[in-house]
Symmetry: C2
Subunit: 374 residues, 2 copies
């Protein structure tokens, strides 16, 4: 199905919701080129980069006894939903927002096989006043701590600047940096192990996570009851959007302890299921079984009048993280995730063939042209 053909006056795409990648991408390309040109500096310290990690979700350096992985990640605009809901319900949702922020960093870091060790907080407020709301500030601290506990990482410290004139008054720009080690080095998963025959295991999402929020917020304008609109399951739209992002590092750590090393991982964030095409190899990803779609994502799809192709190309549609494992490890991978309370689906397999993602139950095909990340 062609998304253009399915368009109507009421269809709302991600680009229409306000993010113009045509403006950002030239800078990204220039930055990536310049960044790649700095790798040689590591040699002066006796180290070297893992070149295959360029373009992956985290950057990896070989420091001898193990690999060092690091990342900085942004929450995005999800805090704006919490701010609106605060007005409507009086509750602070910043404990959930804190978990979202850490999830953005940790879930990316683990894709390369790293154990996250240290998280640093970046909380840039629109003014000192932001921190004067003790309930909200306390929720942020508590949620941050709890997410660190879940991931087994040390919270190293961070920055809490008041940036009036840069960050909007009453708002906060939240980000997290994360550093980890790939230890032993055999845990490195930057793609060289991925092969035809591997199984695709999808770990359940809790909802929208922190990608697609521009679209989700835009939709509110169409809803007479806004964020308080009830979903079929009785939850309000706003509450459902604020379900915190699942932290997947307990799964990857448990897999390691069980002797399972994923051949590759993809954190399903922006670009939805197209992220399953992240790896550069010419391989076909055939999906035979779909995870359950969270009510809030089905609702967004319907309200935005998106067909399945558009929805799966933008939202996680129930799959927050993809593990590509040896076929023989697939069932145990599912069981280990489920033992940690995270639903998992043995969704499909990797095959020789064109670079494409075939979502068979929906008759959808995404090809390389649908995803240009590097």
């Amino acid at each position: 199905m062609n998304p253009k053909a399915a368009s109507s006056a009421t269809t709302l795409s991600y680009e229409q919701a306000g993010v113009n990648y045509d403006l950002i991408d030239p800078l990204k390309v220039a930055a990536q080129r310049s960044a790649a040109a700095t790798a040689g500096h590591l040699a002066a310290h006796g180290f070297s980069e893992v070149k295959a990690s360029r373009g992956e979700s985290a950057y990896v350096v070989d420091v001898g006894p193990f690999y060092l992985a690091s990342i900085v990640e942004c929450l995005g605009s999800k805090a704006l939903v919490a701010d609106e809901m605060r007005q409507l319900t009086g509750k602070s949702y910043y404990d959930a927002i804190a978990q979202d922020t850490i999830a953005m960093a940790v879930n990316d870091l683990i894709t390369v096989g790293a154990t996250p060790l240290v998280v640093q907080a970046y909380w840039a407020a629109g003014g000192s006043d932001w921190f004067g709301d003790a309930q909200r500030a306390q929720a942020l601290v508590e949620g941050w701590k709890r997410a660190c506990d879940t991931c087994g990482v040390a919270w190293g410290g961070g920055e809490t600047p008041a940036l009036a004139g840069v960050v909007e008054a009453g708002r906060i720009d939240l980000a997290a940096s994360c550093t980890g080690l790939i230890n032993p080095k055999e845990r490195l998963s930057v793609g060289d192990k991925l092969a035809a025959g591997d199984a695709i295991v999808l770990l359940a999402s809790s909802g929208i996570h922190a990608n697609g929020l521009s679209l989700a917020r835009k939709l509110v304008e169409r809803l007479p009851q806004g964020y308080l609109t009830k979903l079929p399951d009785g939850q309000s739209y706003g509450e459902a959007l604020l379900a915190p992002t699942v932290l997947y590092s307990p799964v990857t750590e448990a897999l390691y302890k069980a002797g399972i090393t994923p051949h590759y991982c993809a954190n399903v964030t922006g670009h939805g299921w197209r992220k399953l095409l992240r790896h550069q190899a010419k391989l076909t990803y055939r999906i035979a079984a779909l995870p359950e779609v969270p009510a809030v994502l089905r609702f967004i799809q319907q309200q935005a009048n998106q067909d399945d192709r558009e929805a799966y190309s933008t939202l996680n549609m129930g799959a927050g993280f993809a593990l590509f494992v040896a076929a023989g490890d697939a069932q145990r991978t599912v069981e280990i995730a489920q033992s940690l309370g995270i639903a998992a689906t043995l969704a499909g397999r990797v095959e020789a063939g064109d670079k494409q993602l075939l979502i068979e139950p929906l008759g959808i095909r995404f090809s390389d042209e649908d995803l240009q990340l590097r």
Copy 2:
């Protein structure tokens, strides 16, 4: 001299310039307590934190063969000066702004004895439009790359989100995370080596660096010619403010190669020279010789009608970084810095006695009560 006694209607303090630490500090304390409580998680991975690094400028973890140091740091509001100057001169100053941002992270990371290895970029713009200004975007990329080259770090990657509604339209929130290693472990400098008899070497700043900008921007309202006001040296106020922060890691790396391990380091940022009191020990820091004060800082002091005590308690006044070294290493430390083009002053010494900083040429005394950072 008492700053209150010296106050007049035209005196402008840092707090008056818009940052209210009374609102931020309770959150900081709660965050620090919660962060400290997460240290135990490292044991599950076979590692442990270097407890003395809590409250220092970077967080340090013992990972066996070496120590791992990490940090995230924010530029602050300096980019607003670049934006104003762009309007006035048509030039983009984002190459300098990029260096400032990296300096905030790298200059803090090296205080614990770390070699910076990887920098990640955090560039959160107020909308996709920000990136559409190709000249400015290119300057940011070039300056970032050059600063990485100067510091010998690999630019790992980063985030370039468009955050309309969080970051102000037309603005950008810039931060950097940095990860490094303390290798060999003897390079660790978290304070246990600092002792009476040590020499204090001050490395020159290039100007205001990236602290005190709220005050500097506030002053513009008092200047009929604003940022284009000429300083005695002929440079405009705006240009002088935008001198990029000195990157000090070439000095600390060269010291290591010369066999000199600083006993302690202090990055002189917010709180000005009070940062020389950063270490927890009961020691007296006696300053006998002062570095030259950059014209822009003298100008700010005069325009804000600050006495020396207020100025030295807020601004770097020519000292961007303090090295506490064995007395016998002091002269060589000065020479090594100067061979790298960074002026250095053998400024004074550490003595047994009350916890205090005595700036003798100015008759100023700061005590522990003047600095509460932890």
